[in-house]
């Protein structure tokens, strides 16, 4: 277990492309932190810099209080789980898991062990310790029956578990995961997500995890780092990010279905503000501070509910039933709104019929530059 600290970390590729800029991040002991963002946002590059697989162009990274900028990956006390698992195809599951430890063992020379009985005994003892650790990790992940199999004989989920097992065997200070679930189907992804969360609790290890799937991030993380264009947008717990996104990007990226946005002109009435758009006008929450002429409000789909008469009136375009809830798309004047409503409520609706939506309990306000204003 160790802290990971990134100070003003940046990555510039030859040719001048800036993949990551000024990342400041403090991953605490035993924390599960998830880096999330769209493709090309720099999340994987950041993780790979922590792993030592990418050189750091700017700033410093320290693991367990030691600056590791110029230290080889194998000396950083990390283990990494790759997107495609990166299991060695020519080795059995057991050998895959032991491989990193075998490389590290002090008594590695077979020739010397042939010449010196004492050395050979130490070598055997070390091999036994490695085997015990492989066995322990295999037991933890239910891999014992698979230890003699080759990777090609395993299913996607089993390969994933072997990749995690390989990391556990090393007992590293920090676990790094680079989109490890993205090659699995939705059901298995959900199961593995739960397993990873349980594993984190059992091991109490520091984990850094990269994904482009915000649901995965919300489900796994103690804290989430949202990135875009190489810059950190916001760092916070899943609920902080969901409840108080700092800008429109975070607001739109976090949460399913995506947040609704209504853009309009700002009207001032003393200290109060209102937003007027083609389809209506609403008074913005008290405490809103706006200096721009244009602004936007953000409304989570699950805070919209049908009412007899409300500020948002339009026509039901489509209804998608999801079990206990349904997603309803409503066309209002100039704006399309998504509402997630209970199925009972959706059953009373008809596509093409008129509908009114009530004022939501929470309205997020963003200024003309997309920054939070409420």
């Amino acid at each position: 277990m160790a802290e990971v600290i990134l100070k003003s970390v940046g990555k510039v590729y030859p040719g001048g492309m800036r993949a990551v800029q000024g990342v400041d991040l403090h991953v605490r002991h035993g924390e599960f932190i998830v880096l999330v963002g769209p493709s090309g946002c720099g999340k994987s590059t950041t993780l790979r810099m922590v792993a030592g697989l990418e050189e750091i162009s700017e700033g410093a990274i320290s693991i367990g209080g030691r600056v590791v900028n110029d230290i080889a990956p194998s000396e950083r006390d990390i283990a990494m789980v790759f997107q495609n698992y990166a299991l060695y195809p020519h080795m059995t599951v057991g050998r895959n898991m032991a491989f990193g430890l075998e490389r590290r063992r002090r008594h590695g020379s077979l020739l010397r062990s042939l010449l010196s009985p004492a050395y050979a005994a130490e070598r055997r003892a070390e091999s036994a310790r490695i085997q015990a650790r492989v066995d322990e990790a295999a037991g933890l992940l239910g891999l014992r029956p698979l230890l003699q199999r080759m990777p090609r004989e395993l299913s996607g989920g089993q390969r994933q578990r072997v990749a995690v097992g390989r990391a556990i065997v090393r007992d590293p200070a920090v676990f790094l995961f680079d989109e490890p679930l993205s090659n699995l189907d939705a059901k298995l992804r959900g199961e593995m997500r739960t397993e990873l969360r349980i594993l984190h609790r059992r091991l109490g290890a520091t984990m850094m995890y990269v994904t482009h799937d915000q649901e995965e991030a919300m489900g796994l993380a103690d804290r989430i780092v949202v990135m875009k264009d190489g810059l950190v947008q916001q760092i916070g717990s899943p609920s902080e990010l969901y409840d108080r996104p700092v800008n429109r990007f975070v607001a739109s990226f976090i949460g399913t279905p995506t947040m609704n946005f209504i853009e309009g002109d700002v009207e001032r009435d003393g200290n109060a503000h209102a937003l007027r758009w083609a389809g209506g006008r609403i008074t913005l929450p008290a405490g809103t501070t706006l200096t721009t002429a244009r602004a936007a409000i953000g409304i989570r789909p699950d805070t919209l509910a049908p009412v007899a008469d409300g500020p948002f009136r339009g026509t039901v375009q489509s209804i998608e039933f999801l079990g206990d809830r349904a997603d309803v798309l409503i066309e209002t004047s100039g704006v399309r709104l998504n509402a997630r409503v209970p199925t009972d409520s959706a059953r009373a609706m008809r596509e093409g019929a008129s509908i009114a939506l009530g004022m939501p309990s929470v309205v997020h306000v963003f200024d003309g530059d997309g920054q939070r204003a409420s």
Binding site: A51, G52, L53, A72, P73, S74, I78, A79, M80, F82, Q83, N84, A86, Y88, P89, H90, F99, G100, R103, R104
Partner: protein, 286 residues
């Protein structure tokens, strides 16, 4: 080929096989004939039999014993020399070509593209062009009449196989190399423990081609090795042909030739699966 009916395909392949196998079969038949019948078969006086009426298995022992100036010694020497040279060349070519191919495929270094092009350009040079400069070089080094001129160059890579290894290694996921780095291996360790075992199909092609090429190489040993006891099988067979090339001894020549060819055939059969897999995976085409 898809539109061809299966029976027609089979017939076509069978006909092709007959054409290719006929010379080999003919050699076997002639090698087992009596001197008189073998000579007659060569001149077409006595048609070709499918199988000799009275196979003369002793022809093989006689042919091998007659190779060189002392009974059996010439053959045993030539066989040992061929085995030593071929083994060294195969090991050297596989190790050096895979290592250089790995460097071209996975390591980033200044001048990589230029050197790779330069290396490919060396494939355009015919062997005859470099024969004399190489001879002068090796003579300057005092390597004439040793196996060094035959074996040492193999440890400096072969352009064609380097290219083949590079193309194959490019298909191996980068993450395997990165995982090995995290596991504590340096570049040499990654090449030895991860890349080389995964390159088995290419290694099979490289080893088989190099083995056949070196085993059958006549020019190299002829130019660099001059003593009879240094002869390889190809050179010894040529001396044998000069001595026993007449119609009366053609059965012995065929027997000696067949024994010389045998290791190549056996190796191909042994490595066939890997060999075909390597070709099928586009290792040659890239």
């Amino acid at each position: 080929m898809k539109s061809l009916r299966p029976w027609f395909q089979s017939a076509l392949l069978a006909a092709g096989s007959v054409v290719f196998l006929f010379p080999l079969w003919w050699m076997v038949v002639v090698s087992l004939e009596t001197p008189k019948r073998a000579g007659a078969a060569m001149t077409g006086q006595d048609g070709v039999a499918l199988w000799p009426a009275d196979p003369q298995w002793g022809n093989y022992a006689e042919a091998l014993a007659e190779m060189g100036s002392e009974p059996w010694v010439g053959f045993v020497n030539a066989l040992a020399n061929s085995i030593v040279v071929t083994t060294l060349v195969v090991i050297g070519t596989v190790l050096s070509s895979s290592l250089v191919g790995f460097a071209f495929a996975r390591l980033r270094w200044r001048g990589r593209g230029v050197l790779f092009t330069l290396m490919l350009a060396t494939m355009m040079l015919p062997g005859q062009v470099t024969l004399i400069p190489l001879f002068l070089l090796f003579r300057g080094l005092g390597w004439i009449d040793t196996i060094l001129p035959l074996a040492v160059p193999a440890f400096f890579g072969n352009a064609f196989f380097i290219f083949m290894y590079r193309q194959f290694i490019l298909q191996i996921p980068e993450s395997l190399v990165e995982a090995a780095k995290v596991d504590g291996h340096g570049w040499l360790g990654i090449w030895w423990t991860v890349i080389l075992p995964l390159c088995r199909p290419v290694t099979a092609i490289c080893a088989v081609f190099t083995f056949i090429g070196t085993w059958n190489d006549f020019m190299g040993p002829l130019v660099y090795l001059h003593a009879e006891e240094q002869s390889t099988l190809a050179v010894a067979l040529n001396s044998f042909r000069n001595q026993y090339g007449g119609l009366d001894d053609v059965h012995l020549l065929m027997a000696a030739s067949l024994v010389t060819m045998l290791p190549c055939i056996l190796l191909f059969i042994a490595a066939q699966r890997q060999f075909v897999e390597g070709l099928a995976r586009g290792a040659v085409k890239g």
